[in-house]
Symmetry: C2
Subunit: 341 residues, 2 copies
């Protein structure tokens, strides 16, 4: 059994003394110990070497003692496993040299066998679980099918993913075929992760907020719902969509254990839009971690009061930024761990 | 008097036979006649030469007959007039080589005399009014102070303007000084535009959606409210904030004549969040103009039904994209002009 099960209890909606805390991208570039490994090993080496991925996963836990670890990996391991080439270019980000633009481009896209193509992730989970030694739960994650499609079609990051949206609106049949292939792969991937030992899974819909509510239903939500349906009996599922305030009601009714919210949605709006019953996760503005530590602590305490200590997981509203001072991240975590009503 | 005053009547909330229509960035790169001029003249030459700016402004009107023209210009003429150097780099976008990062950087930032520094805009208005010959109204615009600050601090476009947000959160006093200088300049600028002949003004808060609701009040909304207060007796004011669904209530109660909404906010949500009384403007997903023309027409008719034909200005939810086919833009405009209940 997990010794600190605060996170899992919050996902179940149980009454707790204080909410649990972790940070999206907590195993990341703001940590000097991460930067040491980053100097020595390139991105995919870090992802694909279980010793490195597990070490990176536990680095923030050693330093700050969060209530959950999240396996170091990337959402783009999925298209890579589907035979879509993914490169990670320094000072540029992800680059997919052969983006999907036509129905014909889909022919070479496979739904892979997870053990064969992503066995390194499963090995990293085994190794991380050993390192965590049942102290805290481990989270596994995947991108939403829509968010993965965005990269597969655009071929790189983008402010508005116009090519990806254009693909869906001009070739909806091809788009749905690709989305279903990604969904099938993601379900098998997350099930394998749970089997390998993760205690909860999170689906990141980073670019869902680019779509109108109607298009969100068609091109994003229906596929996330498939994932929730397939996973919810295996492990608690957290659904997080950046900019997806308009879909919070569907998310809350989906069977997911918790819903993540970004910082544009106040606690009051988030509770109202989700119906007040489901566990919420979020939503500190990552840039607000640039405020002085005392101000961060004050804002975190206010945030917990606004969300309420129960049915709540303290987190940022998106990933931690690379240039956040260590003492500021410490102030964020400490304010939660010392919280008293 | 303006012959086609449909747009001004919609801003007043009067009953109309059909809603008026225009498109954000309608004088833009999707038009071959615009691209002809773009080949010959660089960005600031186009902005600063009244003959060119007025010609570009009326190009889409000649082709499509929108119900309002919007003066061709750029939100970054304001920092330029405030002695902050702004370059427009091909294939890169705006670049400010000396970004504001400290209180000291503010010392050289001036609140300029509008006639001296932006007289070319006023001349362009005079010339455009002659070309429009009272057929339709002319809109003038400015960026919100927060959105202008984003560029002044970041020094270029960005996905999340982390430097700009960091500046506000670490040096709030300096941020407020800069915001007030931009606000004072913007008020004088918009008043001069109205005096020169524009029939309405729109404030674009393109990056307001990066802020939490509390930070939005502090760093964006209070300055927009100053602008609305100063302008509303001179001309109808339209306030548009991309991603600012959480502030729609304040916008509706501000004294503005209309509130723009982006495509993530359904008509139903927009009417609910604004209290159901104010004129709304929007909100077709610009990427949805890539759909086939018949599909565009069907979606536009549905959008008008959802918003209702009164107290409504048909528009996109953000600027038109450069690669939209001409017949698709035509389908959008035509669907509104032929709308019958």
């Amino acid at each position: 059994m997990i010794k600190n099960d605060l996170f899992l209890r919050a996902l179940k909606g149980e009454t707790v003394d204080r909410p649990p805390v972790w940070m999206m991208r907590q195993a990341g570039r703001y940590l000097p110990e991460f930067m040491e490994l980053r100097k020595k090993y390139d991105f995919f080496t870090r992802c694909q070497t279980p010793e490195l991925a597990s070490e990176i996963t536990v680095q923030p836990i050693r330093r700050y003692g969060m209530d959950a670890a999240i396996l170091f990996s990337d959402i783009l391991v999925i298209p890579q496993a589907m035979d879509i080439e993914v490169q990670m270019k320094p000072n540029f980000g992800p680059y997919l040299p052969n983006p999907i633009r036509t129905a014909k481009d889909l022919e070479s896209v496979v739904v892979p066998n997870i053990e064969d193509s992503l066995g390194y992730v499963l090995d990293a989970i085994t190794m991380t679980k050993e390192k965590l030694d049942n102290e805290i739960p481990l989270i596994g994650f995947a991108g939403s099918p829509w968010t993965i499609l965005c990269y597969c079609v655009e071929g790189q990051g983008s402010k508005s993913f116009d090519k990806a949206r254009g693909f869906c609106f001009t070739q909806p049949e091809a788009a749905h075929k690709l989305l279903q292939k990604i969904t099938d792969t993601t379900i098998a991937y997350l099930k394998a992760k749970v089997k390998a030992g993760v205690n909860a899974v999170q689906v990141f819909d980073s670019w869902g907020g680019m779509l109108s509510p109607m298009d969100y239903q068609e091109f994003s939500w229906q596929y996330i719902q498939q994932i929730v349906d397939a996973l919810k009996d295996d492990a608690p599922v957290i659904v997080f969509g950046k900019g997806c305030w308009f879909a919070l009601r569907e998310m809350a009714q989906s069977g997911a254990s918790a819903v993540g919210v970004d910082w544009t949605c106040s606690a009051q709006n988030a509770r109202y839009l989700t119906g007040g019953q489901i566990t919420l996760q979020g939503n500190f503005d990552p840039a607000r971690l640039l405020s002085p530590p005392e101000k961060i602590k004050e804002m975190v305490r206010q945030m917990i009061q606004d969300f309420g200590k129960d049915k709540y997981v303290v987190n940022l509203g998106h990933g931690i930024l690379p240039h956040i001072p260590l003492e500021n991240a410490a102030a964020f975590i400490e304010a939660v761990k010392s919280y008293k009503e």
